[in-house]
């Protein structure tokens, strides 16, 4: 088998997954979720922070709070952490309503919130502003390749962050709809799709982790590397979420010579996660 590895490839592009959480809600539930208090320990969103936010921002913030709760490094300072948010077709319902307003009432009806709240950077910026993270924040993707691009750019940022702020981590937030919302001519939803968010708290690492079973993600420049489960770069967020949570090692094929390997949650994390889910169900 031909394993052609770039001579200059720097495999320091590796991150440990120090925490992970997912969240999902039907479109009809998101308004209520936006009004909830988003708090964990000393971290909390300012009151009414999400009142103009897009659905994917709300679910993204919710998954961040869940990841904070699941964080093994709970007491760590997050002030210099970075946020990378990969969203797929964000802002659609708000965009539809804005355009109906533009057509029917003219430009005076265009909400100024459309720019900060419905752009590709909105989820990342909301996380940075809301939780006080001063590391870089940017959005990635926009289309069906968003989660794969999110992993790639989080790993791209890792060596840079390791150099400038060695104790900082990267909060990778992937959001999207299982099925895109459908709206009628008045901008009212005619379906009730699920909006999903996954947050990975990533610690850039220079060397291979000693215990290779510790969950991690890394770029591989190996060509034709054997892999148990290969997802295409445009794989759905739901599938990625299921594979990660069921303990399946996943490889995302970015190109012929670039893959991203995502090791699954460790048995401990899986069991604490199933406890957490059971508690959530009980509470519900």
């Amino acid at each position: 088998m031909n394993h052609s590895l770039s001579s200059s490839a720097d495999l320091s592009a590796l991150c440990l997954v120090e925490s992970y959480a997912s969240a999902s809600a039907h479109a009809s539930e998101i308004d209520t979720l936006a009004r909830e208090k988003h708090t964990h320990g000393c971290h909390s969103l300012p009151p009414r922070f999400l009142r103009h936010a897009d659905e994917q921002t709300v679910i993204g913030m919710h998954s961040i709070i869940q990841a904070m709760a699941a964080d093994t490094q709970d007491s760590r300072d997050i002030r210099n952490d970075a946020v990378v948010a990969a969203t797929c077709l964000g802002g659609q319902p708000s965009a539809a309503r804005t355009m109906i307003g533009l057509r029917d009432k003219g430009p005076v009806a265009v909400t100024p919130h459309i720019v900060p709240q419905c752009s590709l950077h909105s989820v990342a910026s909301a996380a940075s502003v809301g939780f006080g993270m001063h590391g870089p924040n940017f959005g990635v993707g926009g289309g069906p390749h968003a989660p794969a691009e999110g992993f790639l750019l989080a790993l791209t940022l890792a060596p840079m962050l390791a150099r400038t702020s060695p104790s900082s981590r990267i909060w990778l937030v992937c959001t999207g709809w299982d099925q895109q919302p459908c709206l009628d001519a008045a901008g009212i939803l005619t379906n009730d799709p699920i909006c999903r968010g996954m947050t990975f708290v990533l610690k850039p690492e220079k060397a291979q982790p000693v215990d290779n079973t510790y969950p991690h993600i890394q770029i591989s420049c190996l060509k034709n590397a054997p892999s148990p489960r290969i997802l295409p770069a445009h794989g759905r967020l739901k599938e990625l979420c299921e594979q990660f949570e069921t303990g399946t090692c996943t490889t995302i094929a970015m190109t012929d010579t670039c893959t991203i390997e995502i090791s699954p949650l460790s048995p401990n994390q899986l069991s604490s996660r199933s406890n957490e889910l059971a508690l959530q169900k009980e509470a519900a």
Binding site: D10, A95, M99, P107, I114, P116, S119, V129, I219, C258
Partner: protein, 414 residues
């Protein structure tokens, strides 16, 4: 050549379609002459004002030497935002002497692409909606523009879109540098594009971010001036080819400059308003200087983000003084947005191009309309006219909604 020199990341290809011109030299001439690209813009039935001042590109032409990537008919059928990406990206590759369709097979070169576009879907939905389409009501999951263009150009490496509002294309350059430094690709097309649209004009106007000085469009963009009252929107596309110096020199292509340093931070203060505390913005500048291994006094020219907003310009002046310390009094500072308008997602790439022009011509472009500098923006300004001065090292600042701060250090590759 030392190993440090050979691993430097340089710019070996440039492509642009902007309100100030469609080539490196044409844009350079406009910047040197202090010519404004701002005029009246008619958004038709969706005008928020009777007349808007904006930096509009009248005609987007398919650049020369790009016929191996796209035919004129296909280019003409594409939407404006597609044209602003396809044309400059294809031209940058042709300028660098790279054809991924051929090189990836013959030389096993891996070419990547990173596009800074803040609201691609919004622009696509709007265009379709205004043409009586229904995409925004039942959106389908089509690949992003960057993937379609990557396919068209034969780019075989990773392709992605990044967004950090008005700093988007600067992030594309910064991340492209890292792709090269980590060996993920052999060359990378990086830049950004944006288009004027009724929704964006109305939203920024309703946000009170745009200048209301619509009686004389060429005078509307007034960064650092006491009487500034907002920015002027523009549109365009600017893309570069980044690669390692030794590979560019092997092909004997023109090297425009080195991308020597990058620095990034977030204000974490407000979704829209820039933070008046300069600490985080100046941290991005300090990190970029450290990344380039340069001291503040070694910088010859700062291309400021300064868009002409009352809060933003003063905050940036504070960040520059904070980061550069006493050296700030000696370094020329100008905002080319006074001439180009604010190209939003493409702004940072355009301003990187302005820095490369400054390096090539040993010329500092001016801030036109700077009649009365604001005392809160005390810097070594270059009002009205460009000046001749040696320029080896430049810093280009970009700040965006959501508190994104970015600084790029571009220097002469000699």
């Amino acid at each position: 050549m030392s190993s440090e020199q050979s691993s430097r990341i340089v710019i070996s290809g440039v492509g642009a379609s902007t309100p100030l011109g469609h080539s490196f030299s044409e844009i350079g001439d406009a910047l040197q002459a202090g010519r404004s690209g701002i005029d009246w813009y008619d958004a038709g039935t969706f005008n928020r004002l009777q007349k808007h001042a904006a930096a509009n590109v009248q005609e987007i032409l398919l650049p020369t030497k790009t016929e191996s990537f796209i035919h004129t008919e296909e280019f003409n059928k594409s939407s404006r935002i597609e044209q602003f990406m396809i044309g400059p990206a294809a031209h940058a590759l042709a300028d660098a002497g790279i054809n991924p369709k051929v090189d990836s097979l013959k030389q096993k070169k891996r070419v990547g692409i990173i596009a800074g576009i803040g609201a691609e879907q919004l622009k696509n939905w709007e265009r379709d909606f205004l043409d009586n389409g229904h995409d925004v009501f039942e959106a389908s999951s089509q690949p992003s523009l960057v993937h379609r263009v990557a396919h068209m150009l034969g780019v075989n490496g990773p392709a992605t879109t990044v967004a950090a509002a008005c700093a988007s294309s600067g992030y594309a350059l910064a991340l492209g540098k890292t792709w090269l430094a980590t060996g993920l690709v052999d060359s990378c097309v990086v830049g950004g594009c944006d288009v004027l649209s009724p929704t964006a004009l109305a939203a920024f106007h309703n946000l009170r971010a745009l200048s209301r000085r619509d009686d004389n469009p060429q005078k509307a963009s007034r960064p650092f001036d006491k009487n500034r009252d907002g920015f002027v929107m523009g549109e365009g596309g600017v893309f570069f080819v980044l690669e390692r110096q030794r590979e560019a020199e092997d092909r004997q292509c023109k090297i425009y400059g080195e991308l020597a340093g990058i620095g990034m931070s977030s204000d974490a203060s407000h979704m829209v308003t820039p933070c008046s505390d300069p600490v985080q913005a100046s941290r991005a500048i300090t990190e970029a200087l450290a990344d380039a291994n340069l001291s503040p006094a070694q910088v010859d020219y700062i291309n400021a983000h300064a868009a002409g907003t009352p809060v933003g310009d003063a905050a940036e002046a504070g960040a520059i003084r904070n980061a550069f310390g006493p050296a700030a009094a000696e370094i020329f500072v100008s905002s080319t947005k006074s001439m180009s308008g604010h190209l939003i997602s493409a702004a940072a790439a355009f301003e990187a191009l302005a820095c490369l022009v400054a390096i090539e011509r040993n010329m500092v472009p001016p801030t036109i309309n700077l009649d009365e500098p604001d005392e809160n923006c005390c810097l070594r300004h270059v009002p009205h006219q460009s000046i001749s001065s040696p320029v080896h090292v430049t810093a280009s600042n970009s700040f965006g909604f959501g508190g994104s701060n970015l600084c790029l250090i571009l220097k002469s590759a000699a």
